[in-house]
Amino acid sequence: MSADGRPVLQVADLEVHYGLRRRRRRVLHGVSLSVARGETVGVIGETGSGKSTFARAVLGLVRASGGRILIDGEDVSRYSARQWRALRRRGVVQYVFQDPLRSLDPDLPIEESLIEPLLVQGVGRKEAVERGRAYLARVRLDSELFGRLPGELSGGQRQRVAVARVLVTEPALIILDEPVSALDSANRVGILEILKELRDAGVALIFISHDLGSVAGVADRIAVLYQGEFVEVGDARAVISNPRHPYARLLVGSAPTLRSAAASRAERDALRALLHA
């Protein structure tokens, strides 16, 4: 899986708190994870587990109260807001969120949205357009759609544009927060296939989702986030077919599958009791 040793992302003992003084509460605790080139790590967590906070911390959008974050070997934990902005603009770390309509400017044709990051980096317009088209082809979108507005595309097409848009800066790491949750089965598979290709091309991916099932097909490793902590991190196959932590077991046991019956209600109730004990 890991190609050339050095991880693109190293997170060690990350702590994040929200609120001040008496309202201060811990959102992430002792979170450690490293992601290598060409590796896909699935981060699974349900509502309130802290998964989006994790994404935001790695993007410098929330300040960590402890621990270290290294991106491409560089310690960014103490970066100022300005340094973070510069880092994000370089496009080394990119992100895709659930709702593609919101991550694309509704008044900007697809083409403009796509080449904007390149223009910001100082690439000439002609070259930017060429590169933009190449990435659109890579996510299997017709060049006919180039001049359209985001609102004129289907959800699946928009999500492809969003993926193409993060690709133009050739990031080393892409963080995807629920990228396929709003898509139907066929579009979901379309996006997952693109992600697999990216991984094979050496990009590191963090795939964040509440749904174990959507991550299972692409993740090399899975990290289960529960109440702000990684309660289980391991090989995807091992986590799904032999989960150890009660929460991971509950998660796997709750997921609907076609052939194997999910855990019985009694089993799930027992796991819940164990978690609340």
Binding site: R188, P256, A261
Partner: protein, 364 residues
């Protein structure tokens, strides 16, 4: 949950025998959206398809709670048929699932059953009977009478069907007052019973809360409580668990199973996820572009899919879902070195070819 009323009145099992509702119009909390129902044109078409439900069906003595026969739906503005004939029969305590991608017509079919098709859509052929009553030509007051008390629905986004400025308990109690004619105090008691029945941990507390104070899973339970408040015979759950966390989804599905067993509630479960339907339903309809491409008992559809599209849906699960690993762990306990194509339910499915998927993508 019992069907006994706390005020001692006899429990009506046939909706027609219920006391007439006060003409109060649609109470705000009734989960079926308050879209005025267009008069459904009288379909003059006789039942077309034979009942595909077979051995699994209970004795014919039990009258179906819902019968859908050859229903076609037209978009009258664009002069286009969107749904090309859907038929199924649902008996009390049974569950039918409708699976299909967005735009397959599954939601329109449900809306037709509820009499809430969008403005310029109409049922152009076929018939729908709810508890033996043909819905064609029902008047708006008759619909209001029917919805909630005989047929009810839960949709994907619970918050938009509840009033944000009223306590949720009050909204449930209001439905009970209107639909079951109970007095305020009795309605409150019944609402608390319902909140308990949907496994909300602290019903008294939830009763006095507003929608913004509750999580998505709690809201969906409140909505289900509202939907079953007047003891309907049929509940339509349209992507009702799609937006929920997986562990919460499992609890909601358990709850629906309880209602089936205990109250004989008949369920229509609509989902884009075949696995959800597979876990809950006795029978599955697979829809694609307005067409029912496959219909049969769940096990048959899963293990012997006949239509290419059903195979694709199954293959997607096996390639990209949990089934990918869980199927593996099954095979370690039951090694099958020489799979017999007749015996292997998934023979010939294999990974979906890129071309095949591309074709489907192009259709979109």
């Amino acid at each position: 949950m019992t069907r006994t009323r706390s005020d001692g009145t006899a429990t009506a099992t046939v909706p027609a025998a219920r006391p007439a509702d006060p003409p109060a119009g649609q109470p705000p909390a009734v989960p079926s959206p308050a879209v005025p129902s267009p008069a459904v044109p009288s379909p003059a078409v006789a039942p077309t398809t034979a009942d595909p439900q077979s051995a699994a069906a209970p004795p014919a003595a039990q009258a179906p709670a819902l019968t859908v026969r050859g229903v076609r739906i037209r978009d009258e503005v664009n002069d286009r048929e969107i749904v090309h004939g859907v038929s199924f029969e649902l008996r009390p305590g049974r569950a039918v699932g409708i699976v299909g991608e967005s735009g397959s017509g599954k939601t329109l079919t449900c809306r037709a059953i509820l009499g809430i098709l969008p403005a310029h859509f109409a049922v152009s052929a076929g018939s729908i009977e709810i508890a033996g009553r043909d819905i064609a030509g029902l008047t708006t007051p008759q619909w209001t009478d029917l919805r909630g008390s005989t047929i009810s629905a839960v949709f994907q986004d619970p918050a938009s069907y509840l009033n944000p400025s009223l306590k949720v308990g009050v909204q449930i109690a209001e439905v009970i007052q209107v639909k079951s004619g109970l007095r305020r105090r009795a309605a409150r008691r019944r609402a608390l019973e319902l909140l308990t029945a949907v496994h909300l941990r602290d019903p008294e507390l939830v009763y006095d809360q507003y929608t913004f104070e509750l999580s998505g899973g709690m809201l969906q339970r409140v909505l289900i409580a509202t939907a079953i408040a007047a003891d309907p015979q049929v509940l339509i759950a349209d992507e009702a668990t799609t937006a929920l966390d997986v562990t919460v989804q499992a609890e909601i599905l358990d709850l629906l199973a309880d209602l089936r067993e205990r109250n004989g509630l008949a369920l229509v479960v609509v989902s884009h996820d075949l696995a959800v339907v597979a876990q809950v339903c006795d029978e599955v309809l697979v829809m694609r572009e307005g067409e029912v491409v496959e219909h049969g008992p769940t096990a048959d559809v899963l293990y012997h899919p006949r239509h290419e599209y059903t195979r694709l849906l199954i293959a997607e699960h096996e390639q990209y879902g949990l089934d990918r690993y869980l199927a593996d762990s099954d095979s370690t306990t039951d090694p099958d070195p020489d799979p017999d194509p007749e015996a292997d339910p998934h023979a010939g499915i294999g990974p979906v070819a890129g071309e095949q998927r591309k074709e489907l993508d192009d259709v979109r």
